[in-house]
Amino acid sequence: MKPYSTLSIQNLYASVAGKEILHGIDMSLRAGEVHAVMGPNGSGKSTLASVLLGHPAYEVPKTKKGKKVVVLLDSKNMLSLPTEERANKGLFLAFQSPIAIPGVTIMNLLRAAYEARYETMEKKKTESVQNPVLARRFQVGGMPIGEFTDIVKSQAKILRISDDMLRRGINDGFSGGEKKKIEMLQALVLPHKFAIFDEIDTGLDVDALKTVSRGIALLQKKGIGVLIITHYQRILRYVKPDVVHILVNGKIVDSGDATLARKIESKGYDKYLV
């Protein structure tokens, strides 16, 4: 992984069902940095997260007000790619309320996703065993399945996720806290360059919040750029952001260091809402 990847959002506009939600966002994030985007309800926070990964419900113009609308990851425009390619080029999104997919186990998902990324990032396929049926079964991203399983389990242990849970269907009957931990597990296991966490702190008790924060610290240590999208500053008590952006009515209205988050804590968003 290149040490100085950048994610650059330029002039980003987006609308859903004809209603414009984002009115020109500009921000830039480097590998290893933690940025927080804070804003009140309805400011466009989740839209920002969804648009970065290309959710089909949102429309993003190619140009707006005479300027190009782009999201560049190391000079490659993500907006022209389908969702899976954005993921495989290095974007990861931890969902605010991830949907249940009964029958697809977390282990299965991790294997399929890891394999897809391996093929894109390493530009090669898992070495083919003569019988492709066996190859699929016994190899993941160039390593034996047992090795991969061990990696997953070691990361799960950090997050206090039981092995048993890895065999359950994705989010099928999971509590709010369990869902968030599973999102974090995927962020830890799947290689990527920038991780976006949409409201990772909602619905977590203090213990789970600490666990998740530990995950973010690990990602940062690996040189991954982290974008935390949040309403409250709760998680920012455990994770110190390098830059804080205030998003109000689909625009970044202020940016600053971690002290900006503390000001929001004491004074709220009122200042920006007039």
């Binding site: 899976e84 993921a87 949907i99 697809v104 399929a112």
Partner: protein, 465 residues
């Protein structure tokens, strides 16, 4: 149909059965054809009489009108008896390209491809079969093709043949009884457990999958056997009608599991009657997967005759373009404290249609019976269809019946979630479908389960049939 010398292809594998000469009856069916089939096999007179009687019944029975559309079957345009080497395309090159492509994509070795496509019998499997045979015969287990069983064990065959499914049961059981050929015969003596699944695949004559197979399994008291037939790779056949009859007798305390994976090519009508009689404390389990064919009508049944008998039907059906899978199960409770479970999972895509059709019947006086029916359908697009036709005839008040049915579609949010992890939309769909059928797939022998998952993926990619 192309006629080739039977030596050409089989010889390549060093396998040649000289007695396997060609015989083909005329197209269409009359009493003379029935007689010639029997004469050709040098059958005992009682079997000939059965065939002739069944033929008469076949003529009188009406076509079933309650299920899938069978109006295009032309009984006069079918060969009723063909010596097996000829019944299928005899050259690899003669197979339709989509079938060859599928084999390539599944990654089946050359020799196996030829076996599956009916091009040649596989020498290796004969070797495997012989070694299995010697192990089985030490335990007194008989595992033969039905024609050989009739020659070698005529009294056992006579005792049970047609006792579970009489020829008059329905038009197709009558047809099968009059023209049957091939199929398996399994006899498991009292108390014997057959540890390895018996696979029709290894029974050498299974290379010649017939149109009108007749299978009979007898499990004596306290015995156990798992029988597996079919395979997940598509079976190409030029025959348009496959109409088998499977009869199973599960005696006191015995357990039989019967696993079928059917993947006939999309020109085949697959109309099969399967039924098991289960005595006191016996257990019958049907695991039934239907992937191929144009129309399938198949409802494996359990007749629970003795106290505490148990029956289970697990069914998976996949219907793609121009396919109708009309499948399900039947449980008939004749005795007290009997229990049954029918679990059906169906997937329809690209205009395909699946139907669940089931019957739960409890006879008066059969007290404290339990039955559970779960049918789940997954519909992948707006052109596809799924229906449920459950029938309950409960004539005893002390009965516990559960019925659950769900119909679901793959949601956009589910696809977005999986795509955001890096898998394509097609892969995402196949992951969801495989997850949906997983509870039944995990009951399959491992190699079948792996192939099944792979096959679903190919179906999702739209690269098969």
């Amino acid at each position: 149909m192309k006629t080739k010398s039977p030596i050409g292809d089989t010889y390549k594998y060093g396998f040649h059965k000289p007695e396997n000469y060609i015989f083909k009856s005329e197209k269409g069916l009359d009493e003379a054809v029935v007689k010639s089939i029997s004469a050709h096999k040098s059958e005992p007179d009682w079997m000939l009489q059965r065939r002739i009687m069944a033929y008469t019944i076949f003529g009188k029975k009406k076509m079933p009108m309650w299920g899938a559309d069978l109006s295009t079957i032309d009984f006069n345009d079918i060969y009723y008896y063909i010596k097996p080497t000829q019944s299928m395309s005899s050259r690899w090159e003669d197979l339709p390209s989509e079938i060859r492509d599928t084999y390539d994509k599944i990654g089946i070795p050359e020799a196996e491809k030829k076996f599956l496509s009916g091009v040649s019998a596989q020498y290796e499997s004969e070797v495997v079969y012989k070694s299995i045979q010697s192990t089985l015969s030490k335990k007194g287990v008989i595992f033969l093709d039905m024609d050989s069983a009739l020659r070698e064990y005529p009294e056992i065959v006579r005792q049970y043949f047609g006792t579970i499914i009489p020829s008059g049961d329905n038009k197709f059981s009558a047809l099968n009884t009059s023209v049957w050929s091939g199929g398996s015969f399994v006899y498991v003596p009292k108390g014997v457990h057959v540890d390895l699944p018996l696979q029709a695949y290894f029974r050498i004559n299974a290379a010649n999958m017939g149109q009108f197979e007749r299978t009979l399994i007898i499990a004596e008291e306290g015995s156990y056997v798992h029988y597996v037939e079919g395979c997940t790779a598509p079976i190409y056949t030029t025959d348009s009608l496959h109409s088998a009859v499977v009869e199973i007798i599960v005696k006191k305390g015995a357990r039989v599991r019967y696993t079928t994976i059917q993947n006939w090519s999309n020109n085949v009508y697959n109309l099969v009657t399967k039924r098991a009689r289960v005595e006191e404390e016996g257990t019958m389990e049907w695991v039934d997967g239907n992937l191929g064919s144009k129309i399938t009508m198949k409802y494996p049944s359990v007749y629970l005759m003795g106290r505490k008998a148990r029956g289970e039907v697990l069914s998976i059906a996949y219907a793609g373009a121009h396919q109708h899978q009309d499948a399900g199960g039947k449980a008939v409770h004749y005795a007290s404290e009997t229990s049954s479970q029918i679990i059906s999972k169906s997937v329809s895509k690209s205009g395909g249609r699946t139907s669940y059709r089931g019957l739960i019947e409890v006879f008066p006086g059969a007290k404290n019976c339990k039955s559970k029916v779960v049918c789940d359908a997954l519909i992948l697009d707006d052109r596809s269809r799924s229906d449920t036709y459950p029938t309950m005839k409960i004539n005893e008040s002390q009965t516990q019946i559960e019925h659950e049915a769900t119909v679901s579609k793959i949601g956009d949010e589910q696809l977005f979630y999986l795509q955001s992890r890096g898998v394509t939309k097609t892969q995402a769909e196949s992951m969801i479908v495989n997850g949906f059928i997983e509870p039944i797939v995990k009951e399959l022998p491992l190699e079948y389960a792996v192939e099944m998952n792979r096959l679903i993926q190919l179906q999702m990619e739209g690269s098969v049939g």
